[in-house]
Symmetry: D2
């Protein structure tokens, strides 16, 4: 049986998602076959070429046509953040399942509207999900299991850092540096991932932001392919401190100016019985310190997360010690989306709009804390 997928957007994420839908039934045994039904872009020729390359059956530039097409089961949204809301609410209203890129939205208003639309749709059996892809990295999914099994004991500290360095002064202007399009800079782009990952792996919730810094180092950027410069209106870097419901404390840092760090999406947890460290640049590895091992033999261990039957998702791919890459997270997420739509269960929890809204709240509170120069609870924010 087929699951007809429509996808909006033909950029970097459009490629990653196309590959996921193309590959998912090759690697996973699933109850439904993903069909690359329609891709929707902004420019007709480019969209048709994209469709042909990746095997999408139809190409359109009319996003409304997706909602109107009865054959389409799922709308996959990979557009800039400000378009998430119209595309998602339109699709949900038309009874299409929605899989939306992260962050949920560029603004809290949008996020709230999307959450509300998803709640309504859910009552009618229509599902939403968000591509927080790192949850499906085997090392991260396994970290989540270790915590769920109680292997860290009482949690003391959480350290989340997403360090990139592509945002230097020579990087040209784009929608990602425009607050009206992107909502924020490093915060939504990178901070969203580490907050989601921290919430997912710990199973805990952030209840207070104890202070934050929002900063922009580069105010003007060269116009791409042109002369002159355009203003950059987003943050380059956001730092904040947090308290979790359990009492654990956390520090978070998202930046595009950490020279030398290409894509260092890192999480570290320290608990009474053990500690964990993850760095996406070495995505097949999880560092694990087991404090219950005898003194003398205990140390930080590097687990290569490629053991079939143990490390989540890896069975679908290659033998032990054969690294998988960035894109496999999307293939694995596509598999989980299919499983859920067929009434089954994802291997690890698939974040819906409700869940993604809670991540958005944390980011909003971090911004508010940074701008107001004071600690605040998430409950404050709700008021």
């Amino acid at each position: 049986m087929g699951l007809n997928v429509a996808m909006i957007g033909t950029g970097f994420m459009g490629r990653a998602h196309s590959n996921a839908w193309m590959s998912v039934n090759k690697f996973f045994d699933l109850p439904l076959d993903a069909v690359l039904h329609t891709v929707c872009g902004t420019e007709p020729d480019q969209t048709r070429a994209f469709a042909e390359k990746w095997g999408w059956r139809h190409a359109t530039t009319d996003v409304q046509a997706l909602a109107d097409d009865d054959e389409i089961h799922l709308v996959d949204i990979t557009t800039p953040n400000d378009l998430h809301r119209p595309h998602a609410t339109m699709s949900l209203a038309a009874g299409k399942h929605v899989a939306c890129e992260k962050p949920l939205a560029g603004t809290m208003d949008d996020a709230r509207a999307m959450r509300d639309a998803a709640r309504t749709a859910r009552a009618g059996g229509t599902r939403s999900s968000v591509w927080f892809n790192y949850r499906r990295c085997p090392a991260v999914a396994y970290a989540h299991r270790l915590v769920a099994e109680g292997r860290l004991g009482r949690l003391y500290h959480v350290r989340g850092q997403y360090l990139q360095d592509w945002g230097g002064p020579n990087t040209p202007a784009s929608w990602r540096f425009d607050r009206r399009r992107a909502g924020s800079g490093a915060l939504g782009d990178l901070g969203a991932h580490i907050v989601d990952m921290a919430r997912f792996v710990t199973g805990d919730e952030i209840v207070e932001i104890s202070g934050g810094i929002e900063t922009r180092f580069i105010d003007q950027r060269p116009v791409p392919g042109g002369t002159g410069s355009a203003p950059s209106t987003v943050d380059d870097c956001v730092l904040f401190l947090a308290r979790f419901r359990s009492g654990a404390v956390g520090s978070f840092e998202a930046t595009r100016l950490a020279t030398g760090n290409l894509n260092r999406n890192c999480l570290e947890l320290n608990g009474e019985l053990g500690s964990l460290r993850f760095d996406f640049e070495r995505m097949n590895e999880l560092e694990w310190f087991d404090n219950t091992v005898d003194a003398g033999r205990r140390g930080w261990g590097t687990i290569t997360c490629t053991t079939a039957g143990v490390h989540p998702y890896i069975d679908a791919y290659w033998p032990p010690g054969h690294p998988i890459g960035y894109e496999h997270q999307f293939i694995s997420q596509a598999a989980d989306i299919i499983r859920e739509l067929d009434g089954g269960s994802a291997v690890v929890e698939l974040p819906d709009f409700e869940d993604a809204y809670r991540t958005q709240q944390v980011l909003e509170a971090a911004l508010a804390s940074a701008r107001q120069g004071r600690a605040m609870t998430l409950a404050d924010l709700d008021e």
Copy 2:
């Protein structure tokens, strides 16, 4: 325009190659489109299921039918080592291009026959190649370039190690432990890769084996899914020392019993001006020591080989810092095969049967040296 591919074999390598042919035109812009024309297996139902899953248009269990099918342009061989010769010579004789899994063959006799057949076919415009996939790992291809640019200066030492640990006493019997099927154990399976990689990266040739050890630690293995045990007749581990034409010295080690090392395919070069280190378990990284940097600031640098426009092949995939995996080497090799068949050039050299034969000679000399307990030149072996 299409390149009709037929593939023999539906195991682990059959999956990796199917994925490569399916994906190659998605990621690369190429003059020919790979068509998954026919897959050939041993069991009809399993072969049909495999074909359906991976999108092969036809399925057969008759290998001769491939030679007879005028539509087929290229035969891709992923069968056990002892079948490389019949499948390759049959295909070349029928005017099909051949892409064969490594090692070239299980025995020198087979290897020589294959090389000779490829020479003859080459004269008629038919091409052979061997899937020494690690050459197309961006880090390895880049290491090759650094050496070719003279950045290591005079080469002193080569260290090649392929360490795995799946060959312990509980691992069941299979064709890989049967000398009649596999020809050898770790030597052909792992040693072939490190010898090819050392030859490729250095651009140098091994001219003497200065001593070797061939050893088997496990003589009996459990029968899979059954009771009792079956003899293991291959080496578990082969070590040898070598001299290169340039005067550099080398040590090589291939083993399936290096506990804790899942798939550590490593190469280290030490030259007067610099040194290099590669470990496939961290395949997106290359370690580089530049001895021309001022004392004080020089050190072993970890290069993340994901810079578009610089690190070979990586442009085809994702942005900087987004790891690729094991399978991408096959996609990149499929792209190079297509380029060569269209009259263009591979990004880095594609090994043909002539080239693979030289690797086979080194392995043969290593075995002979180990068994005879003496040093020998490759010229000795030719006699």
Copy 3:
């Protein structure tokens, strides 16, 4: 010529300092010979045994006697934090040079009094210094030089973390967990080091604390060698965010509950032209990313800081690649103290009480920010 040293305290630090004074003239060529003149402890027998073991000529339990002894040139203070003030002010008043363990003091009042006493003494030629030993780790001193040479360019981020894990629930009560004796917990013990190190390496000053967390996870600790428990009244962990005068942002974390991290005193700087990373557990190494190297060949480099003539202090010890240890920082600091007292210059800046007072202010502001739940400038604090 001799420099007669008196030392107060015979604990862990007393041993480290004794070793430094014993060894300094063996490794360094200096204008004055350190003489281990008098050690002052609290218990007569133990003090005498300590003196005999380490070669101190005299032992006393009367701290006033040190001030009264005309032969003594320098008083070295290794006592608990609350005693720094009386011991230092007494010694300075008596015209003795003072070298005091860090943090400068347990309270701001004490710190201010000590700074003022040092100012007065300085006018009379009497010198103060504080044992912020990590400045004299060759990797840290070299990092300072790289920054001073402008090799990082514009500084964006500072990350300081001092992670230890000895403070778990089974660790017995001691003066270090008693706020009255220690002033604070992780903050003064560990935070003082990372703030000093960040100030030293960057040459920049923290001007604002943007939020902080002070937390205690363990409220009761077992009485050592006894039964029952005693309250722990200090922080286990302090986190804070900061802005530097240059506009750089910083995150700081000091904790005794980061399971798996024995003594991870870490600093990371990200600048426009380069980045640096240091981890004291690998104290002979400095990680350095040179963003001016060609794309392709640039990467995080691990510099082994043992090059004579280049890496500070290392000439005094062993050949390249021969690690030095924790204690060598004290030997090198003793050498710099001697140089300064003889009118020469320290190899890198030796922090005096004035300098250490600025570090203390940062810690105080961090605490105030955490307790008041708001950002504050250091200027606010001064009011």
Copy 4:
């Protein structure tokens, strides 16, 4: 009670040993106090200055005077390799205990004579020992214990590498490059350490050399401080393969031309139940893979070998996570020498001349194998 030590040699090793004798009773509680009685050098002024700096009571240039001095209990030899024999045999004949730098000797003849002299002396209660210092690195001593406890199970592989890079073409001539003085180059200087370390950690003995390479890349070296060049007559690099009594196989490499490797004295063991890795450049760490841990959670662990009461020798120094350095191995060895001379036991086995002779045999067999181009057993060598 005092142990009067005389030391011959005032170079790099003379400093390391002086420091050891000076420090040993500060860090360790021992039944005898080491007394720095007499140092013997070649040049009177330099020797006197050395004595004064390090606290030797007497200075002499007459080596015979040491044998004649009844006050002296132990002669410590740090001279070039060709002088080990006359200095050791003279001292042993005079009833002095001897502690000799490694390798035991420059030639097998010398080594045999020294072993025989030590046998005779031993019968009279006079002890010999050799400064194979790495045995007393806590990580190495702990590795030895893990093996002795059976934690590796059946041993498969041993990999020993001592990689340095100071021997490039610009390094000036010295006794270390003169075969008549040094006996050999990398082999005796570095190979001796890895063979001793492999024998010590495994508790196994090498019984066969299966092939070797001895090579020299640099034939002429600049005369230090002068013009022109002098011949280098020693090996720059020696590689060899070995079989152990237990059936394990081994590869060994000693080189002074492994660019980027300052002092990488490495040992790796692979056994059925676990694996170990050591690298002296990170001497406070031991890497340990426990194959008995559940799949999923097992991985290479980095043990920081600073746990008091567990990791050998470390109690004597600093708290957990505070690195020790190169010289501490000598202090710990001095402590073990004192313990043995007082009738006690070394913490881990102290190699005597008998033991060091077996290491020398392995090196000799490696050379013979390399030169003759054939495998040979150590029994062959004895004939």
